[in-house]
Symmetry: C2
Subunit: 257 residues, 2 copies
């Protein structure tokens, strides 16, 4: 079974629809490619109790990794480190390495260390500091027992660069995503449904999701046959199932495109 | 206080990062414009127990409305109606009106009613059926006590058209989103942070979120001053605070753009 990961994306801007949660999709795709299984994506506001309790609940639900995005900056509502600490029952303390990074940054800008800037160095006790090559706020990775909580910034460019820097160390590849697409015209999704069900149940190592690209009348469907796996034999098995699906659809009158 | 709404977006395609959750952002913006408060967006897979328990938990968390997206179609993993019914302790039964809509649709395509097609008419007992003007699967709206659960399809075009058809009836406007933007160059986010905090704490009817558009060095920040409110006086109050913010930023050397 792939390692279960939960994403906790934080910020009121997501809840008012000002920002589309592209971070979640990007992270989900990255984890999937590495052979992990994202089991849930939660989006909540900048609220200490909610962040703390959701961190705790992710562990209760069996997640082995929780990745947060957002809330690491200098404003009053950047409270992720403090809230995650609360959820993990860890102290949130000044991290000397993080403070040094921040001091260096502001000294290069000829700016003093203010309480708002210093706050960005307050991280869960025992955190590994994650360097931010794009922005200022460092990230953190902290273990509580077997659970790993990793805090990334919410600014997409910062998140992506930091993920790339630390992914191999924090999230070593455990498998891969193998996938095949079957695109068919002329068979409604509801006609294909029994075939899809039979193939998924006969091959529990994979999943098939049908994505209708138009309504049932002028049917054009993309079937996504995929597996997140560490077993190299699964790839050819998925390919075989994709071919079987295509040939079943052709029998039903579909044109494979 | 604006009515709290939770969005429950369902589908493994979101958890593998194949699909960006634009539905969530679109719905969140629509609800915000109508004076509602989206308190949480949860994304889970096509899993009966998880959908059922998350429906229950949304009610426990104090949501008054739960909106689901996805899982209304004909495939084996389209299980939203059944799972929501379970979460609400309601039977999931053939809805005659929904069945008629489905029969009409397939009869116009010269296709018979199969079990997969009939399944789309199985809705929580007592549901109001929501007509799907774009696709085939009807949606539903069902009350359990004071709680309203509304199920929309996951195909964005279907979701949007159905929302527009039923929004005024199901989600009557209770206020509006008033918002002002202050765009400033030349002041780092961390320097502006104490001013933002003071203004938010002095004006608890609004929120100010700073969105850095670049790193702390070459600072360009968009400040979003907003309120979701039914009080027409709040608009001018927000405008006043936005102006005060701008003038404070100018004092700190910012250029308002």
């Amino acid at each position: 079974m792939p390692t279960p990961v939960e994403l906790l994306t934080i910020g009121y801007e997501l809840l008012i629809g000002k920002v589309v949660n592209t971070n979640a999709a990007w992270l989900a795709a990255e984890f999937t490619k590495r052979g992990y299984s994202v089991t849930r994506i939660t989006c909540i506001g900048d609220n200490e109790d909610e962040i703390a309790s959701e961190t705790k609940r992710a562990i209760e639900r069996g997640a082995q990794i929780i990745v947060t995005t957002g809330g690491l900056g200098p404003t009053f509502d950047d409270i992720t480190a403090r809230s995650v600490s609360k959820g993990l029952s860890l102290d949130c303390v000044i991290n000397e390495e993080a403070l040094k990074m921040i001091e260096q940054k502001y000294s290069s800008l000829n700016l003093p260390i203010t309480p708002e800037r210093k706050k960005m160095a307050e991280l869960p006790r025992g955190s590994k500091v994650l360097r931010n090559p794009v922005g200022t706020a460092p990230g953190f990775a902290v273990k509580k027992g077997d659970f790993l909580v990793v805090g990334f910034p919410g600014v997409p460019q910062e998140l992506k660069e930091m993920f790339k820097l630390y992914a191999d160390e924090l999230f070593p590849p455990k498998g891969e995503m193998v996938e095949f697409f079957v695109k068919a015209r002329g068979v409604p999704e509801s006609s294909a449904a029994p075939v899809v069900e039979r193939l998924v149940k006969a091959n529990p190592f994979l999943y098939i999701k049908s994505h209708p690209q138009s309504s049932e009348g002028s049917s054009y469907i993309e079937f996504h046959v995929y597996s997140v796996t560490s077993d190299p034999r699964i790839k050819s098995a998925c390919e075989r199932v994709a071919k079987e699906l295509a040939s079943e659809l052709i029998k039903m009158g579909a044109v494979i495109v």
